[in-house]
Symmetry: none
Subunit: 270 residues, 2 copies
DNA sequence: ACTTTCTATGATCATTTATGATTAAAATGC
DNA sequence: GCATTTTAATCATAAATGATCATAGAAAGT
């Protein structure tokens, strides 16, 4: 133990790429220069990172920088490595806080969403005694491993490219359901409502919200002000949003006027 | 327990690994360096730990560290995995033959059973174009990976210790369903009927049999003459049994008198 | 009790991978 | 057209990895 290396604050490549993705998602466009300064590596390294990320289809390379890919191609298959990079820390933080809202012997809906997945993971880890309902195959499998969890799967057709179920019989099932809490993941949050990209999915989320005594929307910061066509449900009093970064003041004011609570989950630092 | 170990600072490997998993779940990523400092073991040991954890599928290894795996591919309970190994060759043979009964654009029910799982695997492998219905989470996840498969999940409560769904809304759903073929796994085959160990499961199988134009029962040889309390369905004409070893002459005669076809699947030799 | 195995660990080293510097080519702006 | 910036390619260096080996401690057999 003679030598002493100062590099305790070293960042591994995967982490750096994850930060790059987040920065691009945050700003829409970013230059190679700025990235280099922000994450403190050389230009060639940034270029290599961007090339690697672009290959997985999340971003689009352009001269001098990179942009978010506007057309989220239907057939792009992000390899596990890169898929895991997208806002992993934020999702974990949101999920952790969400799970802390649960008590034993409650009934809970887990919507199909990667953020909600984290909440489910925490719930299993905390050995909570729950009656859980989900329309997501991965979450179902996860919850199945919790010995103290009574699991119901809504049923329906599988949405291509994801693990979520929609349509019958799940839709009717949800309409006759009453639970204590619903964790709902969403694609876009406007001043007054939650929206999603397809009608069927929006319907599912609407019924989930209606079935629950308390609705908790889990969404990372990128969802505020995003665009999506189909209205899932309007915000109502007693709704809560758990997120990692606050929305714009305009959205915030509007939501708070509606009685919606916005809670920030503390994200682990690098 | 005469001796008492004083080394409280020493933790056993399992503890250390679970601590590593915890840390990764907390932060999303972690470097090998940081882990080494945190848990006070050498870098090679950390690498070995990470490799071992990664093999179990919880985390994903990357250069310099590891990340949480969001897309939990096929991570099933170890006890299930060992169960799946029982009579593996026989099940594979039965599944192979069963899958060869399928044609493109058919609708098929896949019952919850490890033998049927093999049939589903073959169907996916053959890139068949199917509308598939299942009440099993593992089969659902498997079929979800088939790009040409339109998947419906019946929904219901999870049976503890397995991955099959029973009860509502799946039961009602199945009653309103009509499909070309149903692959049904069963616990016991008598001279005249198929039986199972629980009433709910028997009901599900009955509805599945009723929904199908053609019923194909998949069962390894041990199921003939086995005992189970609840009658799922009587054999009818045009039912088929695919198995690996023939039943006793008595059972065979009785089944053939009912018009049931018994097909032997050729088991691969070592 | 003693010895033998076996596993876990740490150290060493060759190999692979990531990074930063350099430079020529390409793209952009004027 | 030219000047400037950005890029891709190459190379040398540094870091991380996997493999192998030796040792220490635990578990098991005698």
């Amino acid at each position: 133990m003679t030598t002493f290396t100062q590099k305790s604050s070293h960042i591994i490549p995967v982490q750096r790429r994850s930060r790059i993705i987040e920065l691009i998602r945050l700003k829409g466009f970013i230059s190679v220069q700025e990235l280099s300064e922000t994450v403190c590596v050389s230009l060639p390294t940034i270029r290599r990172d961007l090339a690697s990320i672009a290959k997985s289809g999340i971003i689009q390379r352009s001269h001098g920088g990179a942009t978010l890919k506007t057309n989220q191609g239907t057939t792009f298959e992000p390899d596990y490595q890169t898929a895991a990079l997208i806002a992993q820390r934020e999702k974990a933080a949101i999920g952790r806080l969400a799970a802390s809202r649960l008590n034993n012997n409650q009934s809970v809906i887990f919507d199909s969403s990667s953020t909600v997945y984290e909440a489910a993971r925490q719930a299993v880890e905390n050995n909570l005694v729950l009656t859980a309902v989900t329309n997501d195959l991965r979450i179902a499998e996860l919850l199945a491993s919790g010995p103290s969890i009574n699991l119901l799967v809504s049923g329906g057709s599988l949405r291509q490219g994801s693990y979520s179920l929609f349509g019958e019989p799940g839709t009717s099932f949800l309409q006759n359901l009453h639970v204590d809490i619903a964790f709902i993941g969403i694609h876009a949050i406007t001043k007054t409502a939650c929206c999603d990209t397809s009608l069927e999915v929006a319907y599912i989320k609407r019924y989930m919200a209606m079935a629950a005594e308390k609705v908790i929307v889990l969404a990372d910061g990128s969802k505020f002000g995003a665009v999506a066509f189909f209205n899932a449900f309007e915000f109502e009093k007693s709704f809560e949003i758990i997120t990692d970064s606050p929305p714009s003041p305009a959205i915030r004011r509007s939501l708070e006027k509606k009685g919606v609570t916005i809670t920030l989950a503390p994200v682990e630092k690098y």
